[in-house]
Amino acid sequence: MGAALSALSTFAHLSTLLFLLLGVACGLLIGLLPGLGGTAAVALLLPFVFSLDLPVEHGLPLLVGAVASVHHSDVISGILLGIPGSAAAAATVLDGHEMAKQGKAAHALSLAFLCSMAGGVLGAIGLTFTIPIARPLVLTFGSPEIFMLSVLGVSLTALVSNGAVLKGIVAAALGMLFGMVGSAPAVATYRFTFGSIFLNPGLGLGSVALGIFGIAEVSYLVASRRSVGGGVALQGRWLDGARDFVRHWKLVLRGALVGIWAGILPGVGATAGAFMAYGQTVATAKDKSKFGKGDPRGLIGPESAGNACESGDLVPTLLFGVPGAAPAALLMGALLYYSIEPGPRLITDHLDSTYSIVWSMALGSVIASLLCFPLAGPLAKLTSIPLHRLAPALIVIMMVGAFQATNSYGEMLVVFFFGVFGALMRRADFPRAPLLIGFVLSKPLERYYFLTENLYTPRQWMLRPYVLVMFAILLAPIVIALVRIVRRRRKSDAPAGPRQPATSDAGAGSAHAGGSGGSPVGTGGAAPAGTGGAREAAVALAEAAPESAVSTEPHPARADRYWSLGVTILAAAIIVMAFVMSLGYDADARLAPRLVSVVGIGAVAILLTIEIRKVRAARRSATAVSAGSERRWIRSIIVAFAWVAVVPVLTLLLGFAITAVVFAVAFLWRVSRMKAYTIAIYAVATVGLLYLLTTYANFVLPDGYFFLGSPWTGQ
């Protein structure tokens, strides 16, 4: 404890605090940009530490401060716009963005900031106490335990599916198959790469998350020409967030603990950790009905976990010299620069520096919260701005953010492809969170299955105590889910005949309509609120008055059914294709894709029969009226995606910077119809941002045929 206190006393120096503040500010700015997280923040600051030869008491707070604050700002775009700033923030989007849609953005933001702060502080405290005991703890967690934990993670699918469990399973299977693209973990075989070197290491998590949530959301809102809040009056203040934070302190604590643990273990990572925190919140809640529809509790778990995870990551870094994630790896580079060798001897030789990191983490989180807090109110106003005004900047930033991951042109295509896919899923009421969970856990699941199988006999690993505990945890929600499905089946099977599902939807332009709200079979019963709302708002916009919308579109549920069926067929096609392709692989590379695709085929077959039955039912009950508004909506979403596609296509010719300007100007002129001078300011700001990022943050922009990506760097 003496070392901990003496390390704390260094923060009494103004200069140390100043560098911490600088790091926090930098982390906040980087986190604000979708797609960029802790890695970018540390990579940005590291050269300054080296070239300015900062002393250790300045360098470490600078770097750790950035890591501690990134999570505060990366939820901002997630909550306000539905664009997770990092993949880990996707779990926060589930309820956080729904709150924003209901006008409670300030409430959600302030709660998120407080949870991030608590995550950071609790993580640091956890770090302090675990350092002496973490070693045996980490070592008891072998390959079988990590394998079981991954299984447990995938099983969360049932909890983040908003009741559409079957669709959730299909989405998770798709996610796992997408996660298998690239080299197989157990053998040197490349799967589903179609001969492309770009795909050899697999699809990037950042690009997939940006596409499936970010681009999908932006295009959706652009197509419906709405703001996020959809005209809902802003309500709720930051104080509400503080109240929820105090009321649910137990959830905060639990979320942080899950986060620390996810960070400590190799192969689990922040995204899975955040979803696990979400899952355990839902699993243990008495009233589950509001999750996914703007329940503040759904925001607490993942937010507390996110920042705590960064502290957890430091445990293997400091104790074993094994960085848990990229930011920790860069931090390790800084430690080497200061002649501090991470590893078993760190605690005996450099305890003061260890605690200096711990305290920077805690203080950095607090400072970041204090800085963010006053911004919650003003930021919340963003939800009332029509999204098409923000869209060009958002699309440009998302594309450039995704590109940084590998500096490959392919990243932009991945973002675009998953954007379209995400929009389709959204329209068809497929939950998107299970896809991301499946994607994240696919590789660790397969990797640790093979390691377990190779290194243990079945009896050896299945009887390990932690494995048994996790088996028990695993079975509980499955049993509960089964009971729930059976019960709902029984309830809804009785009136399964022709029914008028549209009665409740007809006049609804509000976000609560939920197109499939009254559908005959339970799977669609708890569609995420607002999914139907955006489309209906588009309808309302096109048709001037809600009444006329009703007259031309008496059965919106019918269109919903076609969408649902269509996407189910698409999913089935992908899964069957994966199964067929997997037939050609080596035995060790074949097992996982085959297993997942067989389960997927089973789920998708059941879903398909249900969907076909629903389409028939809808057709019987519907009168033959042209679905003009639906067609109009389809046209506008296609136009929206055509706009998004402009960026990757034009980049091939003009390079990124010029494309960004051309795109922003054209979009604002044609779509947003802004005034000339506003467009000019917007364009200059876009170039300015890109200039700053390339000059000071070492960003790379994709080159085109005629121009360089960043022409100002031309030799």
């Binding site: 080296f50 040197a188 190799p266 010299g321 910077a657 010029i658 790379v700």
Partner: protein
Amino acid sequence: MKLHKRGGTRAHSGVRLVAVAATLTLVASGCVKHGGSTAQSAKFPKSVTLVVPFAAGGGTDIWARLIATSLHPLLPGNPTVQVQNLPGGEGIPGNNRFAQQDPPDGTRILVGTGSSYIPSLLGQKGVQYDFKKMTPLISNGTGSVVYVTKASGIKTVDDLFAPNANLRYGGISATGSDLGALISFDLLKLPVKATFGFEGRGPVALALQRGELTIDHQTTAVYNQSVKPLTDKGDAIPLMTYGVLDPASGKIVRDPNFPDLPTVPEVYEKHFGSAPNGPAYDAYLTFGVALYAFEKTLWAKAGTPQSITQPYLDAVAGLAKDAKFQQSRTEALGSYPLVKGSEIAKLTQQVFNISPSVRSYVTDLLKDKYNTSVQ
């Protein structure tokens, strides 16, 4: 956008058009991409970019960042030296891009590492770079130690050959940096059971400590950081090193960091009674020893004027005097000499002119023993 009501008069949109055009002209002016014909001026560039074809935070990246800082004051005109990461594709796309697109004018320098060398030595698909067509500038070797854990029951290097030795090795991928270990095991005819699929050497080290694995190799720096403390307690037992090439005699000698440990060839000779030879030994020389001799190296493209490459060679002396850099790089790689590229140029040419017999030996080994085909 069909849904939008048309707003603004025609005159208004005319103004807008002019503004748009003006903005575009402003942006486009003076930023036409310079064609391939870069002037072959021999002036040292004002800014140098070290290209790391891997993600930020890895060993190569950290070494590059350390040397970037220290090179800045030693090069003519004190250019800015920055690191650029081109991750993805196991380094292949980043290396390809350097080899095919970057100009030979010293503005961009490649940071080479074993993980980049091996795919080209194996002739892996997609490799479009050739280190024979590059000039080494500054090179930093490293070494590797083979050790076992207490759980293996092995106490001395002779126990390795016991018929029931419990040897379990964990690797990332048979076609990657594990190759040196696999070839050594094959050379010594050790019955090692290898499991691949670990995410990195770090998780392998954890698995060893958990008792899931029993035999491992680590580079000198990692060994000193993470394994040495365990050897002091008797939990890990170092057995042998790969040895280093003595530039004077061209022979393999003991690793100066581990003068007490025998080299793999020494162990072979002691057990089998004769010096090793044949394709297995040639492969060992390439993948076990030579690659480590220039494990981290700065490469310029062939055709870079000598007035630009020479300052790097001259900077080696300056780097040797930079105490801070020396200490940091020793921690990152172990204490191996930093050498001028000119001293290892012959060796690199030899290594990358890999003989067909060595290549087919490695491909057969991977195919027969590890059921892995080189793709």
